[in-house]
Symmetry: C2
Subunit: 226 residues, 2 copies
DNA sequence: GGCGTTACTTGATGTCCGTCAAGTTAAGTT
DNA sequence: AACTTAACTTGACGGACATCAAGTAACGCC
């Protein structure tokens, strides 16, 4: 179990809980269970029984799905503050996806039972959750459409700009191995390699070491078309 | 305004309302506003002020977004029973998307104000909505991943099989013009044309007239890889 | 520090598919 | 029914990208 104040800190990371009063947050923190997952280990695997909402307190998790043809598809990259398993909260079914920790990771879990109790007691939680899911739907819709109409080069350039903006610097280590980045962008490691080289030679970025990137021309990156 | 019993019929079409008791459904029906949209007209346009959840009572609506580069992207194809605008219910912002009726269409609208009132009064509605959004998130995640890793041919074959299964026949008119189908699948009309011809010559389907399709080998279609 | 494993790079080659262009069919209009 | 317009088809061509293959660099482990 987490120390209570740690649990509170974790709960406060989650957008759907942030705006609640201290009392409610404290109550939520009591319901939460901690789990630590080492780099490379699985948080959960496809086929497992799923009955908990998962909240990222710290770290990075790769959520993947194996298609019928056996190809691995990355559904999502969970970062600190993200949560996953919304659908699980209302249906008793097996997980379709597997989640592997890319870094040492700390997560908080809240069971379906507890969560359902919670939204009955606190309408604010339900409304916040609706809000969060609504936003996530919008994001996913936009992303799905973008995926249909953008090239790998565009998506990679976008990813670099976004990552720089999230990390608030133009000079950063890629948070993902290139092979995982390839999965995430729906391409191959070879293509990532070549595209980055292309960006380098055209002066948009500089590469150093295995995965250090420096963004030289953000506007230029945003205009990459192929 | 709809006749009350028409409104009730409309409300009952929506998954999030279906399981409610008659009283609540009737109350919901009172809040609902009807609108008829002719084929080719817009239900709403990007940039408009958005303050209503939209429910499809009948027809087909193409939801599109124009990217920075000016390319049109189809976000979604709304069918009878679908709803759109979830994010709008909690935020006061402009629509990012445009929605054009592909057939004569009947929709029901419920304002943000009314909906918020509703979920406060009836927790069941909130829970149903959470459920619906959770499922939609799962669907979208799966779709986004599939889009990253499938070819146009696979997506088209999939679409044909799904459409046949929804219409419950192997012999149907395409519900979409091929140019819209192209948008939906993220490709060009030319490619649709060629792929369908390919499917024809390999015996998977038969084409008749401009847009009539007969599925001959569903298993074969599901195994299409490129 | 040496060694094995994994990640990454680079090259060669093929193919899917987008685009341009021109022709054909179907639908709607007066 | 003729005409106009939009949807669709077909062909030619090129480019982005996947795949296969081989080499290089970095990491982890004893």
């Amino acid at each position: 179990m987490l120390e209570h104040h740690d649990a509170i800190a974790c709960v406060k990371l989650v957008p759907i809980f942030q705006q609640l009063d201290h009392e409610t947050i404290s109550a939520v923190a009591d319901l939460v269970q901690e789990r630590h997952v080492n780099k490379g280990e699985f948080v959960f695997m496809a086929g497992e029984h799923a009955d908990s909402l998962m909240i990222m307190a710290h770290g990075q998790v790769k959520v993947t799905q194996s298609s019928a043809s056996g190809r691995e598809q990355m559904i999502r990259l969970l970062q600190t503050g993200d949560f996953d398993g919304e659908s699980v909260l209302f249906e008793d079914k097996e997980r379709q996806t597997s989640a592997e920790a890319l870094t040492d990771t700390q997560i908080c879990l809240i069971t379906r039972q507890d969560f359902q109790k919670l939204i009955k007691q606190s309408p604010a939680v339900a409304i916040n959750m609706l809000n969060a899911l609504g936003k996530r739907v919008s994001e996913l819709e936009a992303q799905a459409a973008a995926t249909l109409t953008t090239s790998v080069g565009e998506r990679l350039a976008n990813y670099l700009v976004e990552t720089g903006s999230e990390l608030d610097t133009n000079d950063f280590d890629l948070p993902l191995q290139k092979k995982d980045l390839a999965l995430y962008l729906g391409t191959s490691p070879e293509t990532i390699s070549r595209k980055l080289k292309q960006f380098s030679t055209s002066g948009l970025i500089s590469q150093r070491g295995r995965n250090h990137i420096k963004l030289n021309d953000i506007d230029g990156l945003m205009m990459v078309e192929s």
